[in-house]
């Protein structure tokens, strides 16, 4: 145990006394907790460059004052009850410290303009979270994640080898072998041709959006954003003072014709083509062409968030925008959120060639260090085929769960719903017929314990009444029918 001690110089006061005063102060300030062990005499002597005799004498002094007790064989401890009113004094002090509200909160005038905006958007997001306690919806349940494989890979890579030069190079874009593995993986799964230099590993999901925004956007720059669309990425862009313009989606995806009418072409177009978040439709092939051609013509970048693209049911998977692009204008991003969220927070971006150099520079300034062991383990998970094997297995289970959910809904709720859409991923969308309010659905769902998430926060403009996300990754196929049935009864009563 180490402890920071400032031996104040006092003339004519013995050294041991100065030490015992300093330790007494540390105890009364709560830095050495009641009943906790004191540093050993040897350690303290060594770290303060004092003789052991001096330390020993200081400890004796403290013992006489009743502040420490010595237990033969196991060392010296801070007393669990301090003598006299010292104990109360300490208690008061600690209580005060924990309740002490700051003299003043930082004022808006102390913040920069960017700081004020950052804070304002952050507060807005926190408020929305209050209304969206289920924000964790759709995360993979443990039984559907390759947790066992992950554990053994993590343990394998805790034995870092001394001759492995890896730890001594700072690689802001990620370990080269992981970047290669991800480049190959995205070629296999998503037909993306990329060089490993274009693949960037990130330690947290938000940081991808943050970096792309910081790289490309100046205050006031226009970003076209799917409406409805993932709220958190929108917030990150708004906090960068970008002008985020909602663009409606139809059955084929984002409406490019709508973007064409902008007075100023957007710098960035945010889309989720393989699985619109939250409405689940797949962007059609003609729309993909139209979007890429438009972006190339006006010089915009397309940000393709390949979120939740792993699982499809029936419909064939389409090549990603990045695979179709030969104008060097698509930024592709993906994560392992739907596979191994619980343990693995790494995610990645594949930049167009023209952006990879400047992105590397910015990455070095925003997120220079990445977890080494996680990266080594992920490299193996991807290269050894564990990941794809796992996806195949999950796909079967998820298809089954999805089927039983749809069956239950069709059986009990049909007359209250608009027709179900298709789409893959790990949730479906329910549109209740007019006359069924968002409030009554939420209430009934809460009462029967069914996880329905209103799409309210996905809309920047007016939200759609009675529209809900229904995650099915973690439903129980034995009880779902019953749950939906109870829900339907309850909803009829409430309505």
């Amino acid at each position: 145990m180490s402890i920071a001690i400032n031996l104040e110089y006092k003339p004519y006061v013995a050294l041991y006394r100065r030490l015992s005063d300093a330790l007494r102060k540390a105890i009364l300030e709560g830095r050495l907790g009641l009943g906790e062990p004191m540093p050993s005499v040897r350690d303290l002597a060594e770290s303060l460059k004092l003789s052991r005799a001096t330390v020993l004498k200081a400890y004796e002094d403290l013992q006489i004052q009743g502040l420490v007790v010595s237990q033969s064989g196991s060392g010296t401890y801070v007393s669990s009850h301090l003598p006299g009113d010292l104990g109360d004094l300490l208690k008061e002090r600690l209580q005060e410290e924990s309740q002490r509200s700051p003299a003043s909160f930082i004022s808006a005038s102390e913040l920069s303009q960017t700081g004020r905006l950052l804070k304002e958007v952050g507060c807005k997001q926190q408020e929305e979270h209050v209304h969206l306690p289920e924000i964790g919806y759709g995360g993979t349940p443990v039984e559907l994640s390759p947790a066992r494989e992950w554990k053994s890979l993590m343990l394998k890579h805790c034995d870092i080898h001394e001759d492995d030069q890896v730890p001594f190079m700072i690689e802001p874009a990620g370990l080269p072998k992981l970047r290669l593995a991800l480049s190959n993986y995205s070629k296999r799964r998503r037909s993306i041709e990329s060089s490993p230099e274009e693949v960037f590993v990130f330690g947290s999901k938000q940081m991808r959006m943050e970096l792309i925004g910081r790289l490309l956007l100046n205050p006031g720059d226009v970003v076209a954003y799917e409406e409805p669309g993932y709220p958190e990425s929108r917030h990150t862009l708004e906090a960068l003072a970008a002008q985020v313009v909602p663009v409606p989606v139809d059955n084929e995806g984002i409406q490019v014709s709508y973007i064409r009418r902008f007075s100023r072409p957007p710098k960035l177009i945010y889309v989720t083509p393989s699985h619109q978040d939250p409405l689940t439709m797949v962007m059609s092939m003609p729309r993909r062409q139209e979007l890429i051609e438009y972006a190339a013509a006006v010089g915009s970048f397309i940000l393709e968030d390949d979120y939740d693209s792993e699982f499809r049911y029936g419909k064939p998977i389409l090549p990603s925008l990045r695979a179709l692009d030969h104008h060097d204008c698509v930024i592709y991003m993906s994560s392992f959120w739907k596979i191994l969220y619980q343990s693995l927070r790494l995610s990645y971006v594949i930049f167009p060639r023209c952006l990879s150099q400047p992105a590397l520079l910015v990455k070095g300034y925003l997120e220079r260090h990445l977890p080494l062991i996680d990266q080594l383990a992920l490299t193996d998970l991807v290269n050894d085929g564990h990941l794809e094997k796992h996806l195949k297995r999950s796909q079967r289970i998820l298809a089954h769960r999805r089927q039983s959910l749809i069956l239950a809904i069709t059986r009990h709720l049909r007359e209250m719903l608009e027709p179900l859409g298709e789409g893959g991923g790990t949730h479906i969308i329910l549109n209740f017929k007019s006359g069924v309010s968002t409030g009554s659905v939420s209430k009934a769902a809460g009462l029967v314990g069914w996880n329905l998430v209103s799409t309210d926060s996905y809309y920047a403009t007016e939200s759609v009444e009675g529209q809900f996300i229904v995650p099915f990754a973690d439903i129980n196929i034995d009880t779902i029918d019953d749950t939906v049935k109870k829900f339907a009864q309850l909803l009829r009563e409430i309505r």
């Binding site: 180490s2 930082i106 993590m154 001594f168 060089s195 064939p316 619980q342 023209c354």
Partner: protein
């Protein structure tokens, strides 16, 4: 007949489902121009008969083509071959031309500033790191802790599985914040409770976030000269005006700062100034805190490397002396636990907690659970402080033996900084040496000596170097030093 024009195999018995094979044949036919655009395909029923497959198989083939954009279904008139083919987009060159000129890109002002600093040679993107030796890191203990916390993910029934469900904690895993706060209180006399402590996955983000919150373009920020270049460049990229303040054996020359007038932010490393190793004296600490309180400046205290002091004076932190809520304290364990954990920590003034809490989740919400849980146990079970103590002994002896070797070889031709902290030693060669000779000798002998130019914002001091003494071990170090010296004298 459309089907006749296609080169159909005798039987669909290749790889994959029959519907896929049919779709592939049709697609190939469309691409090869055997079937022209706008031609209406036969109905599903006809096609099923002609191909000898079931209707649902034929329907699936058409559906697949339609999803890929090769055919378009039109109400009332059947399915047509698309007028414009997706193939026109898919014709990518099979080998990407890596040498084609790059597209001109309009970057943000922030990125452009970084680019221009890089072009001027002030920053580089790849830094090799001569940190602590890997053999000092207790990998076995770390492995046990990882095993303990990975288990939660495997054993679904165990009570800790609930830890793995999703709970956004932008400030970090609460038990880690408790553990680190009590470590800082003990070891660094930082005034902190868990509410004011923030965990960062990315250490660089700490200064970036503070700079974004506090600095407008052109705001004055005082930094040490020489000083940590990454921090300086981050502030410059933010658009701040950087004011370099000289450093002597007592640390930053606070007088110079006071004379310069009010600033918005001060970045200091009081417990171990890099690269000089100086410790900010008590008198200057008080002056600095008074000055900050008076002119309303915030102080960023970067306590990097404070664990390793060899002269028995682990000075308490500046933050612990601050009574006006002006110090933002940064800490990390990189020099102790690299490369197994790279987490960074920040202690906020009470008045800033709310503001930073609102911002953190916009930029970094999720930090690896396993890493955080393992580190909390590592601290709580006493491994951290034991490790620091052990390392301190080892490094002190490495440092001492390096100094005596240097003295015996170079006598008075080399000056070594008396301040003793950190993992590097600052040395200055006397006039008469030539930097080119020194640097080529270093390269040839593998002696870990680096010139200090990148620490300087203004003109670097000639013949000033740092020697990294921790990662090679005493013997190897001595061998390389002798080789280095023999090359120099030759």
């Amino acid at each position: 007949m459309l089907i006749d024009r296609l080169e159909l195999p005798a039987a669909f018995n290749g790889d994959g489902p029959v519907s896929k094979q049919i779709a592939e044949c049709l697609r190939q036919g469309i691409i090869d121009g055997l079937v022209s655009p706008n031609i209406i395909l036969p109905s599903v029923r006809e096609m099923a008969v002609q191909l000898g497959v079931s209707r649902s198989t034929a329907a699936r083939a058409i559906e697949e083509l339609s999803a890929q954009g090769y055919v378009v279904a039109e109400m009332g008139s059947g399915t047509k071959v698309a007028a414009r083919l997706p193939g026109e987009l898919e014709e990518k060159p099979s080998v990407r031309d890596e040498h084609a000129p790059l597209k001109e890109v309009e970057l943000s002002a922030f990125a452009r500033r970084l680019m221009s600093r890089q072009a001027s040679g002030a920053i580089s993107t790849l830094v090799s790191y001569n940190g602590p030796s890997l053999k000092d890191v207790p990998l076995g203990i770390w492995r046990d802790l990882i095993a303990r916390h990975c288990r939660a993910g495997v054993e679904v029934d165990s009570s800790s599985a609930s830890q793995l469900s999703y709970a956004p904690e932008p400030f970090g895993f609460p038990p880690l914040r408790e553990a680190y706060a009590s470590y800082l209180t003990r070891a660094r006399a930082v005034k902190v409770n868990a509410e004011r402590l923030v965990v960062f996955a990315s250490r660089n983000l700490r200064l970036d976030l503070i700079a974004r919150l506090l600095l407008s373009e052109g705001d004055l920020v005082a930094v040490e000269e020489p000083g940590f270049s990454t921090a300086r460049e981050q502030l410059l990229a933010r658009g701040a005006t950087v004011l370099p303040i000289g450093v002597d054996s007592q640390g930053m020359k606070v007088d110079e700062l006071i004379a310069a007038g009010p600033v918005k932010l001060i970045y200091v490393t009081p417990s171990h100034q890099e690269p000089t190793g100086a410790v900010l004296s008590m008198i200057r600490r008080k002056q600095l805190l008074d000055y900050a309180a008076k002119c309303g400046a915030y102080i960023i205290e970067d306590d990097y490397d404070s664990e390793f002091r060899y002269d028995g004076r682990p000075l308490p932190s500046l933050q612990g002396m601050d009574s006006s809520d002006r110090v933002i304290y940064l800490s990390c364990l990189w020099n102790v636990l690299a490369p197994v954990t790279r987490l960074g920590f920040m202690v906020l003034p009470a008045g800033m907690v709310q503001a930073v809490h609102a911002c953190k989740s916009l930029v970094e919400r999720d930090v690896s659970y396993i890493e955080q849980a393992a580190l909390s146990d590592f601290i709580n079970e006493g491994h951290l402080e034991k490790l620091i103590r052990q390392k301190r002994q080892v490094y002190a002896s490495c440092r001492q033996s390096l100094i005596s070797k240097l003295e015996s070889i170079f006598d008075r031709q080399i000056w070594t900084a008396p301040e003793s902290a950190g993992l590097e030693l600052l040395v200055r060669f006397q006039d008469g040496f030539d930097s080119q000779t020194i640097e080529s000798a270093a390269l040839q002998s593998g002696f870990p000596i680096t010139n200090t130019s990148w620490w300087y914002f203004g003109n670097p001091r000639p013949l000033e170097y740092t020697i990294s003494f921790t990662w090679l071990g005493e013997e190897e170090m001595a061998k390389r030093l002798e080789h280095f010296a023999s090359l120099l004298s030759a």
